[in-house]
Symmetry: D2
Subunit: 339 residues, 4 copies
Amino acid sequence: MTTRCLQVGVIGAGRIGCLHVEHLTTRIPSARLLMVADISGERAQQCAERFGIPAYSANYQDVIQHPEIQAVVICSSTHTHAQLIQEAAKAGKHIFCEKPLALDLETIDQIVQTVKQAGVQLQVGFNRRFDANYARVRRAIMQGEIGEPRLLHIISRDPAPPPLEYLRTSGGLFLDMAIHDFDMVRYLMGAEVEEVYVQAARVLDSHIAAIGDIDAAITVLRCTNGAIATIDNSRSTAYGYDQRVEVLGSAGAIHTDNRYPNAATLMDAHGVRRDLPLHFFLERYAESFYAEMAAFVEALLQQRSVPVNGEDGRAPVALALAAQRSLQERRPVRLDEIP
Amino acid sequence: MTTRCLQVGVIGAGRIGCLHVEHLTTRIPSARLLMVADISGERAQQCAERFGIPAYSANYQDVIQHPEIQAVVICSSTHTHAQLIQEAAKAGKHIFCEKPLALDLETIDQIVQTVKQAGVQLQVGFNRRFDANYARVRRAIMQGEIGEPRLLHIISRDPAPPPLEYLRTSGGLFLDMAIHDFDMVRYLMGAEVEEVYVQAARVLDSHIAAIGDIDAAITVLRCTNGAIATIDNSRSTAYGYDQRVEVLGSAGAIHTDNRYPNAATLMDAHGVRRDLPLHFFLERYAESFYAEMAAFVEALLQQRSVPVNGEDGRAPVALALAAQRSLQERRPVRLDEIP
Amino acid sequence: MTTRCLQVGVIGAGRIGCLHVEHLTTRIPSARLLMVADISGERAQQCAERFGIPAYSANYQDVIQHPEIQAVVICSSTHTHAQLIQEAAKAGKHIFCEKPLALDLETIDQIVQTVKQAGVQLQVGFNRRFDANYARVRRAIMQGEIGEPRLLHIISRDPAPPPLEYLRTSGGLFLDMAIHDFDMVRYLMGAEVEEVYVQAARVLDSHIAAIGDIDAAITVLRCTNGAIATIDNSRSTAYGYDQRVEVLGSAGAIHTDNRYPNAATLMDAHGVRRDLPLHFFLERYAESFYAEMAAFVEALLQQRSVPVNGEDGRAPVALALAAQRSLQERRPVRLDEIP
Amino acid sequence: MTTRCLQVGVIGAGRIGCLHVEHLTTRIPSARLLMVADISGERAQQCAERFGIPAYSANYQDVIQHPEIQAVVICSSTHTHAQLIQEAAKAGKHIFCEKPLALDLETIDQIVQTVKQAGVQLQVGFNRRFDANYARVRRAIMQGEIGEPRLLHIISRDPAPPPLEYLRTSGGLFLDMAIHDFDMVRYLMGAEVEEVYVQAARVLDSHIAAIGDIDAAITVLRCTNGAIATIDNSRSTAYGYDQRVEVLGSAGAIHTDNRYPNAATLMDAHGVRRDLPLHFFLERYAESFYAEMAAFVEALLQQRSVPVNGEDGRAPVALALAAQRSLQERRPVRLDEIP
């Protein structure tokens, strides 16, 4: 069975990098993790020791040039993605890269082009596609359980905004946070978006206002299949993480609830109550991070196309740019206006 | 206690008229219904006999000119509302009128003006304000349970479109159906709307397409309190009537579910299921029709302002007209563009 | 259509009596209420005036002897039921009587015998059979949606115990409160009970302990169809009225939730919560009181058997007596041990 | 930190054994698994290779006598538990053993005695105590969220009976299946059981009837804290695994729902439905198996008492024996009747 084993290297041993390492070493027997690299050699070493990885390095090129490694998992900072993908592609490695590929379309186009020329595969880390709730909604749509989809609503609210220094370079609400939701519209609809319109709520968080960003917005998207989608984004809620979708189709509708730490309900003199939903995205989406990596490994071993490719990495960035323009110009923006 | 009794007449003995008659005669002891009129004298007679009303007439003026009647309830066709309200006002009667007052703002302005000059009160039949679900949401907002409201979503879907002949003269989706939802935005937010934007889904129902109307749309509304609202309207669903709202506030969120004929859940080999929500609007909103009429009678007896006045009747029509223009011109429309 | 109208008299104008009067006068057009009697003539008069009843009396015999009255509704105190039923039966009137018929089986047997000999019908006020939740569960069982029923659980808890003076003469938890649940077991199972076993929780309420009653108990019942039922009774909860059932069948299961004043759910920093269920039995079961009376009137008009007869009034009393003995003797008691 | 590492050996590499091995090697960094043994050397080898365990054996004594192993995890067949525990205890190893310790109390008493004399600790595998739902209910009780507990209901139904050959030697419904629920009563109540009463439903499964076992029963338990508990057991349901509890306390109540593969709800012309609950106990209780082992390792490292000890292993067996006698003798059985 050794022929059914994929040799993998990981670049970036931060929070997400270590999560992928854990899944590759403990839950995906058909993967063999040969090396982890991190700009901090110490971090790489700690990760290697904790998960029993044979080798580590402070130099990502040791992973990319490793002769036995067939696939590289890139979990370094966003601004390094383009360079690393292109080097890995030229070295003939398949690539899994965290989202977003880049914050501009020109760079992404170059990435996609290089990957194509190199004849390797690139999977982008839109993990939510692998979440049981969204997968169930997609299945309902694709198998016709609700007929032709007509109206889609996504609620995607974070418990609290990231640190201000992060926000400053994040690219703003649309590129940083809504990008998952833009991907979700395409994934659920099985269609592209033609037009985007944004209305932002008056900014409440003075720090976010100070850097010119927004903290809550409604985005409306017209899809090529004639359906309309809305996305409700908020950088914070009083009650934690809120991640739901609902779809109206011609033959039915489907909606999802949040996931909870337990299924207990308590009644007392004050009311009927339950504990808050899972608060932390790594906990809420834990299984999806495993499932996307397992799907990546399996696709390569079976020489099938990976489930989220470079084009899927590009489209949400284009939608985020359209949303930014709609916000600035206070009008609906067609996707063909985005170069 | 006779001084605490309001003498009432009803004009229009159709479905809604009879419902108001039933409430006035059986559930509102402080009202005394003296006469019912209907263009069909036979219908008026049947209604009077069924509910023990002392008098009936085929001529609405018998109600308006009745010396003992203090308040007139108008349930006739929309196109008659303006005329009847103005006659009743000039006769010094207080008025309850079904929505909409009229389909154009000029007429409504005349109505409001006449009513004001006559020194009588006018309540408009936005019954949903009196529904327990919406009233609970409004209370959460007004009492600060969820902090400052930021994002509001209304789902308002009918089980099936009305007959085509009705649709032809209904004024279209916005004036006929969404008008309740436009009122709900104002009611829940306690604020006005500044700007409206519409995206309609591709029309599925060929009959509706043939008369140039739409059958499903998303409307986005920016409110003067800085909040953003969306309305999801559909003329039909496969599963019946769907009436829900949810609001995100700075300190929490609240959402409502539909109402069901029973609270039973069944599990078998195929899944976990319950019966469909209440299907018919008269059943779903039954209590709200009673409550609005009780509130009307009580306000007059206590010489307080009625809870839904002429201005509340005008604003949703203005919003519907703005929505129509947004759909035609494919752009957000400011309310100050609507004359 | 006058031939399809039932002439009715009501005896007892207390809380339940007035409720039946309201339904008979406002919601059941095929009934005509001719007279109300109450031991307090003033109470009878007030009721008659409020609901427009042609006649009233302080003497119940005026109802029973009224030549035009075809059916008598008995809502007086429990200890008067036997006498009134027998007099009414002998006068040839059909009878609706509130539960329980009596607190001992000998009296009930005499009642049933007299009614039978008189050739009239007797319906007992087990209103919960007409509640939408329980009716849905029964339908699931009768139509085979869950196969053959095997295990049934009833939760039946009051918000707070009745006044102590009432409790003293109530007959105790089983005859006063659980009697509805004993009826429900028979109604849902469509079978009789063979054996009863009771375990009472240690009494918490010192007043209830002082009069030798219990305040919470589990009753287990073996049915003739081989199914086992449990009843969970409590005289009080911190959170209000709690009325639920669930049934496991060979092909599925069904359970009911409580009914709520609204369907709103609120999320804030403390949790996810909703308002408490409907608290008051007259509110929780409002529709069932109407439905049982409508069914009574309709059955008589159509010359069909009434849906809850004298035998249905006897069986729950026998079960209560068996439960009392089980509690005293700390053993399962067979129904054939109850004379 | 090497001093905070527990050296562990596992005996039995079947389904549950491999699950513990997986948790020990991949999710519990403070444990070091040195050896796995199985009566099938091949199974031991496969397990060792899959999870990178340094050594394996076909002889369990290699684990028990291993000089560096501090704790032994016993996952072999029930009939071997007594022997293995006693040998391990005499070798000075701490022990984790799957439930039940044995099917008779005499053997268990010997086990507990030996373990005590050896000065080692013994944890019994009642994993459900570590499930998030039950832990939440226990927390509600222990922290006074619902006041003093009065009535407890456990629903514990399997999707389908085990194979007949397994059933023949399983010890019957109470020792094999309800044993978890007997433990749960003690865990949630924080009290012992004084008396047990059983009513079994008429047996539906002819194979189970043929071996003299039952397939569905209600057990009523009176606790030393004055509370009453019921357990609803069924060997099969049409809809899968059903695991719920609810508790009424003097200040509130708490109940749990099942866990589901997703939180999606679908509405169509036929009703409102969701997918069935998690079907397989290893999936439903996955996290609890990890958590019990982590708690075992942590307790030993911190030299605290293990959370489920030998006495906790004995009591549910006594309850099962009392239940068997109640069923045979058709009467409530006091625990002090069980030798």
